[in-house]
């Protein structure tokens, strides 16, 4: 183990490490690749890494899905639910919206790629720039 490498930190921040690695993969694809479809895939990885991260924030050790244990009967008694028993449902709901937004963006981007291909006959960025210059 190299000095200065804090293994416990990596394990303790597993979700953070994962999202940063995924995000960098996406970032590499967006900047390093010349194919526009690969750029789009990179953009998607970039987005999903953040969505995964925010969902991971909801997790609690030993907690269950956010549905009242014991059904409605447990609510009728007028007792407050113990929040520590359930994972936080809000990040999931927010990310569901973010996923919908992401799908819409992917759709628009794919439609644009289709039109780029029809017009210029290529999706490689260097060839594309060449053809724009000559048109």
């Amino acid at each position: 183990m190299p000095s200065g490498f804090n293994f416990d930190f990596v394990v303790g921040h597993f979700n953070t490490v994962t999202y940063v690695v995924l995000m960098m993969i996406g970032f590499y694809a967006m900047t390093g690749k010349t194919n526009l479809v690969k750029k789009l895939v990179g953009m998607n990885i970039f987005q999903w890494s953040i969505i995964l991260f925010v969902v991971s924030l909801a997790a609690k050790r030993g907690a269950t899905i956010p549905i009242a244990l014991g059904g409605h009967a447990s609510l009728d008694g007028g007792t407050a639910l113990d929040a520590a028993q359930y994972v936080n449902p809000l990040p999931h709901v927010l990310m569901l919206t973010a996923i919908v937004v992401g799908v819409a963006i992917t759709g628009v981007a794919l439609a644009l790629l289709l039109r780029i291909y029809r017009r210029y006959g290529t999706l490689e960025e260097d060839e594309l720039l060449e053809r724009i210059r000559h048109s």
Binding site: K39, I51, L112, I116, R119
Partner: protein
Amino acid sequence: MNVQQSAIPVLVVLIPLVTSLVLPVLGWWYRPAVFPVALAGLAVTCGTAIIAAYTVVVGGPLHYYLGGWAPPWGIEFRIDSLSVLMLVLLTVITLLIGIYSKHSVLKEIPSKEVPFYTVYLLLVTGLAGLVSTADMFNLYVFLEITSLTSYALVSLGGGAAVVSAFRYVILGTVGAAFYLLAVGYLYSMTGTLNMADLARILPGLYSSTTVLVGFAFFVIGVSIKMALFPMHSWLPGAYSDAPSAVSALIAATTTKVAAYVLIRVMFFVFEPRFSIDVIPVTTVLAWMGSIAMILGSVMAIGQHDFKRMLAYSSVAQIGYIVLGVGLANEMGFTGGVLHIVNHAFMKGGLFLVAGAIVYRTGVREIRGFRNLSGKMPVTAATFTLCAFAMVGIPPTGGFFSKLYLILGAINAGQWVFVAVIVLSSVLALAYLFNVLRFMYFPRDIPLDPEAHPSPSDTITRDEAPWTMLGPMIAVAAGIVLLGLFNGEIVRRFIEPVIPVGLGR
């Protein structure tokens, strides 16, 4: 605390939304009705915004709890005098460009008016939502509605517009993703998304690394959205390749609301002292803004294409707004907000002029504008007025926002920013007066044999149609009115919301 509840904050979002949903059905049934209905939707939205402005000025901020759920549990819509200023600005601009777009769209993107106006109204929905929501995640959704519709509208232009739009998609999404990440970080620390609630909880957490990282991601994300140098690379292509009406629309609105979001979160969700003392974001922003002002103007001087020149000039003008925010005192804040309003009118007006010239002559090269003042006098006059405002000649609005910025820089003791503002104005003079020279005094310029055939070849008076001239004249009048009534605007809309804790 007595909270003034009203449905207006949510109505300004719902009216354009419902209109945009009606339009495709209408277009399928009776196509000529699409434009009047879209225009009616825009007009009603504008009217609602003006009523909101009156109510807010008289009675203070308006609140609306969506679904009856009180904050912090439910989504709150809230407009105070800063958001109502933006709301009136956006709805007036979108209404004027809506009128203008009729002939422009018929000529440039024929047979696409149904999708065009549907997306147009959706864009207005996003813009209105952005300024009236009081919920961080809701803001993300509206930010993405605004961006998605801008991508679609930009791609309608011919030529390389699709490629520019794709570039815009990639960068815009990265910006939004950073914003989302910031929301995630802030939520993980505070457990709330409501802006007022965040503002209550956050001061105790200012030393937390998570909050600092979240704030950093927020600033970068929003900077991409508003094309702050050096994150502006999507802007020139998107503005210059889009159809004329769209260029005017997005130049006047999308980057401005991003600047509004920056101000809203930096000064109202966080306290000013956080971005001044805890991490010196304001200092960084002031310098970034200064670099944008100089380099944007220099790049604009080097352009031959009129619309591309205006796009680079937008990069410079965003710099002014960011500098105002970065000065972090009352004068700078006032100047920054006032410049959002002024620049929306000035740059909107300039792109409308560009659109009218393209409509009549098809010329976009500045060299091709020879003798344009004879052929299109009203268009040339509007350009002159907008150019004066851009440079900052009184009594146009541009003069006063620059004045506030300069006073802010002096109050902050930062003389270098005074120099930057003056230098950038001189550079603006250079690129705008070059155009004026071609329009009004072409005889002094030696004839370039390679120049495009210019309007001077057939010098007959041939103005753009009235539906295009009307909005242009209205924008020009707006620029003068903004200048004459700047004191009133500052006193009624900006002063009540100057955040506590800013320096003088």
